[in-house]
């Protein structure tokens, strides 16, 4: 089995930041009859494939990119983790 290694970065708008897209999606859900949906927040997911194994140093390197480029600390938070999936 071929091991596929990816680094996943998930970026979400901070709770206190207005998320008009999420709000619009929530409105559509509610109007379609899904009355129990009371909030939707829209974020982004990045799947980053790398050459070689995911070392701590590499994770640090990608985390720096997650913190400075993939997310904007003024309005967003990020989470980063290695995904050592079993591939296809």
């Amino acid at each position: 089995m071929h091991l596929v290694e990816k680094i996943i970065v998930e970026v979400m708008p901070k709770p206190e930041i207005l998320d008009p897209q999420g709000r619009a999606i929530q409105g559509v859900f509610n109007r379609a009859g899904h009355a129990s949906v009371n909030n939707v927040r829209q974020g982004k997911r990045f799947e980053i494939s790398v050459d070689g194994p995911i070392t701590d140093a590499l994770l640090d390197e990608i985390e720096e990119l997650a913190a400075t480029v993939l997310s904007n600390p003024v309005i967003e938070t990020y989470a980063i983790y290695a995904d050592e999936g079993d591939g296809e």
Binding site: P20, Q21, V69, N72, I75
Partner: protein, 222 residues
């Protein structure tokens, strides 16, 4: 000596030519600069024009803010060189950290394109020193992500230090405290969401109220 204003073109920039025209009408010299350039040569000031650099991918202005020329812009700005970011350029300045806060999707999600009334509230910047405090201007806006936001604990500092350069008279996009333009503490870096370069010719724009920004920089001695 004529002030030389570098105008940076990124992939997806739209308003570089209008900015160049406005700079020339203001009495300065427009100098084209390419995003892959790594130095600004001998320009005295820089304009980051509006548009959709990199198609607004990731976040508006985010990818342009890490392009080669921006390193030079950041270094020069920190040395005091005047920099004006208009619309997408304002978004870039926030992404680089030269200005605080961020520009996010308009409150009602619409792309808004129309003249707006704004009031100049800081005339000490390199780009607004021509104006009188309280001057009301008609300047077009055209943005989908013009909603200025900043951490609630940082907003009082912006207000107290007088860093808000212009406010909307009728807030079109949900920006906190009606903010249309801000500056850094030194007053050399200004970001503005409305487009003064589209208000410099009575025949083709919404009047000529934008000229004052370009007269301001043409009169700056560097």
């Amino acid at each position: 000596m004529t002030t030389r204003v570098g105008i940076i073109t990124f992939p997806g920039t739209l308003d570089d030519r209008d900015a160049a025209t406005a700079v020339a009408l203001g009495g300065a010299e427009a100098v084209p600069v390419w995003h892959k350039d790594t130095n600004l040569n001998d320009v005295d000031a820089v304009i980051l024009p509006g548009g959709f650099s990199y198609g607004d991918y990731l976040r508006a202005g985010a990818l342009a803010s890490v392009s080669p020329i921006m390193k030079a812009v950041i270094d020069k700005a920190n040395e005091g060189m005047p920099v004006l970011g208009i619309c997408n350029g304002f978004q870039m300045l926030c992404e680089t950290g030269l200005l605080p806060g961020a520009l996010t999707r308009n409150k009602e999600l619409h792309f808004i394109c129309r003249p707006e009334l704004i009031t100049i509230t800081n005339t000490k910047t390199a780009w607004t020193n021509f104006f009188q405090p309280g001057a009301e201007l008609v300047i077009p806006i055209k943005n989908g992500e013009g909603c200025y936001q900043i951490a609630p604990e940082s907003l009082p500092e912006l207000e107290d230090k007088g860093l808000i350069v212009a406010r909307y008279n009728n807030n079109p996009n949900g920006s906190v405290n009606d903010i249309a333009a801000i500056s850094n503490e030194a007053g050399n870096v200004v970001g503005i969401m409305p487009h003064p370069e589209h208000a410099v010719d009575g025949l083709v724009g919404a009047g000529v109220d934008g000229l004052g920004f370009f007269w301001s920089i043409a009169g700056v001695t560097v």
